[in-house]
Symmetry: none
Subunit: 412 residues, 2 copies
């Protein structure tokens, strides 16, 4: 079973909103074994809606429309679907009383325009809207399934989960399952990952492999097709192990797992605490560590030491170190890591210093030069890095490298 | 001039990423008077890329492809464009040495796969990639313009701004100009902003107005169409003033200006320094302040005090205060703000404490309860807030409210 998604709304074409509906639906449909082959976005224009709907119905067995179900004249989706499917719009009494009920609940009278929303294509299956007003529907016609959903994400998701999926599960004999799996790596450039996996990528048609790179993290995406979930899982599992062997401990996690979650998990399991002394990352590492629920179990706190004075007074970096080696140096970062460990009495002290740009660079210390140090009870480990990019990109890359240094240390 | 955008990448169809490239490009093209009529998303599949490219070229004068320019075998965009346009791929020496230079800079050897990226369609105009590796290009063929851009947002944006737009401006005779302008507000809910602007929104057809809300910031977007830039600017200017009067100092900036930029600018102009004591935001406020280039001029540093112990020892919060009122209280946040001001000797001390969830809430102190304090040389000002949302949303809302408190204080 293949599907296409048509998002309708001129606000998309003006770039005023980011489409989160289509990714959500694509993910949910894949899990049902329905392969989304195309996503199309068009404006509130009758001709465009009609032509893209007709094209999609030629190519795909299932077409999902998003948006254009409101009460105003630029909401055209229902009208066009009815026309293309040659069905009449008829009043659905149950939906009408639902809509009336919602206005009563908020003690408002229902504007007459909203009556339009209770009209659905004849013989369609109504999808109730628990959150908002506009109902959706499923229309089966000429061996095709058309699903119309409202645009707002917080209305679309519960409608799809609670109303559409149960209907689809009952109606469809699902013959094929598509499952995807992600292996996350850090520390290797994309081309190096590709090189390591060259043979596997060439040979493997199912699961199919692709790579996605962002700020020193490279994701390896495996997509398997099979007759049932079990077989798909087995296909993925077999390949996942092979890939894992090629990646060693560059592979830090799977799925949507973040480096901060992995680090948090390892700290929690080993009953260790951490504190951070940040200079060029300016609080980003702490922000990311504290994005993880429950991080207060192992994250004690941090000092963002932007000025040399704070490096000295709050972290105990020596005046002579700063004078002799500078704030961006191996020596300084080591003292920062030891300092934050000492003042917070944490098990680990993580320190970073560097030049994020666009200013502050010198001949010997260019933009992107970064030192990271990790102190434990025995010693301090430091590393030099050279990153490319703009200020925020460099900050993100440094945060990833620093979190990875902690991860590698905890895995030793 | 009409355009279509084709986003290429199987990760889109699996719902693994949200497409921010297409909205950005749509907005920028509109500003150039180029109307985006359709956005299409397809997988890394040669046939789909070819067919959607051919279809788009039939309908539109300009087609922009996003993604598929990487060094791996699943990056097919260039190959397909060359085939459809009947052009050969030829080695671009300048681009090759650029790519080699980038690997040298990071002291890595270039994997042989990256050579592929230096091949571009014959007679195409190369678009340099300042941030990443993959170059883009513009190919003019049979009265059509094809623009190929890389997928990562942070690579696509500078390439389009710095390389593609100057080329397009030189090549195209632009007859209609669409200009947009954004007024940014914080502190008012979207419905309240809409109420304040009701009359203006109804009356104004050109510029057209729309609202966009995110994490306690509401943007008012003005879009004007005119025969030339001057007229469009005049249309916007007239309305902008009217709107400004309705918003008072809820309006903190324009365009892409952020609260941290405005706060940074005000601190810099007034020659004042700031330091931050963060609890529930976990470093986010410091991270945002330090995203602004030159922030080292006024941002001294911060203490992320996740544990009570660090609140006491590093910020001087009294033990009795924590025992009597708890860590999330007006009293504690006031002492945090005063404490960070004192230990860093800054002009302003900003303190935040609260419950970001999902755990840590009690009957009296629910998730989203937040206290923010700002200390200057004379006194401490504190405010209580109640925010809704998940952990990361709450963190973002608190950061906005805290930065806004500083802004308002500096404007007094």
């Amino acid at each position: 079973m293949n599907a296409e998604i048509i998002s309708i709304g001129s606000e998309h074409l003006l770039g005023e909103i980011v489409n989160t509906d289509a990714p959500y639906l694509s993910q949910r449909l894949a899990a049902l074994g329905i392969e989304v082959e195309r996503q199309i976005t068009i404006g509130d224009d009758e001709k465009s809606i009609a032509s893209s709907l007709e094209e999609a119905l030629r190519r795909a067995r299932m077409v999902i429309t998003i948006g254009g179900l409101g009460p105003t004249p630029d909401d055209l989706t229902k009208k066009v679907i009815a026309k293309v499917a040659e069905e009449q719009l008829v009043l659905n009494e149950e939906i009408l009383s639902e809509i009336e009920g919602k206005f009563k609940e908020e003690k408002k009278s229902m504007p007459s325009d909203n009556i339009k929303q209770a009209f659905l294509p004849r013989d369609s299956h109504a999808l109730k809207n628990r959150v908002g007003i506009a109902p959706g529907f499923i229309l089966e016609t000429r061996n095709r399934i058309i699903i119309a959903l409202p645009g707002p994400y917080n209305e679309l998701v519960p409608m799809f989960e609670e109303e559409a999926i149960p209907y689809l599960k009952g109606r469809l004999k699902i013959r094929e399952v598509i499952k995807s799996f992600i292996l996350r790596t850090t520390g290797l450039p994309e081309s190096k990952v590709a090189e390591n996996l060259k043979d596997i990528m060439k040979k493997s048609k199912n699961p199919r492999l692709s790579l996605l790179a962002h700020e020193n993290i490279v994701d390896i995406i495996l997509v398997a097709k099979a007759g049932n979930e079990k077989t798909a899982d087995r296909l993925i599992e077999g390949l996942e192990k092979k890939i894992g062997r090629c990646l060693g401990n560059y592979n830090f996690g799977t799925g949507k797992q973040t480096l901060e979650e992995v680090v948090g998990y390892l700290l929690y399991m080993r009953k260790k605490s951490i504190a951070v002394a940040e200079s060029c990352t300016g609080g980003l590492i702490s922000h990311r560590l504290t994005n993880v629920p429950g991080s207060s179990n192992y994250f004690l706190g941090s000092v963002v030491a932007y000025s040399d004075k704070i490096k000295r007074e709050r972290l105990g970096v020596k005046k002579t170190t700063l004078e002799k080696y500078g704030a961006v140096s191996e020596k300084t970062v080591g003292e920062m890591a030891k300092g934050i460990k000492k003042v917070t009495k944490s098990n680990f002290g993580l320190g970073v210093t560097g030049i994020a740009g666009p200013t502050g660079a010198t001949e010997e210390k260019p933009i992107g030069l970064v030192y990271i140090a990790l102190a434990d009870k025995d010693k301090v480990e430091t590393q030099e890095f050279k990153f490319r990019g703009e200020r925020e990109i460099i900050k993100a890359k440094v945060a990833n490298a620093a979190l990875d240094m902690v991860r590698r240390h905890l895995l030793k």
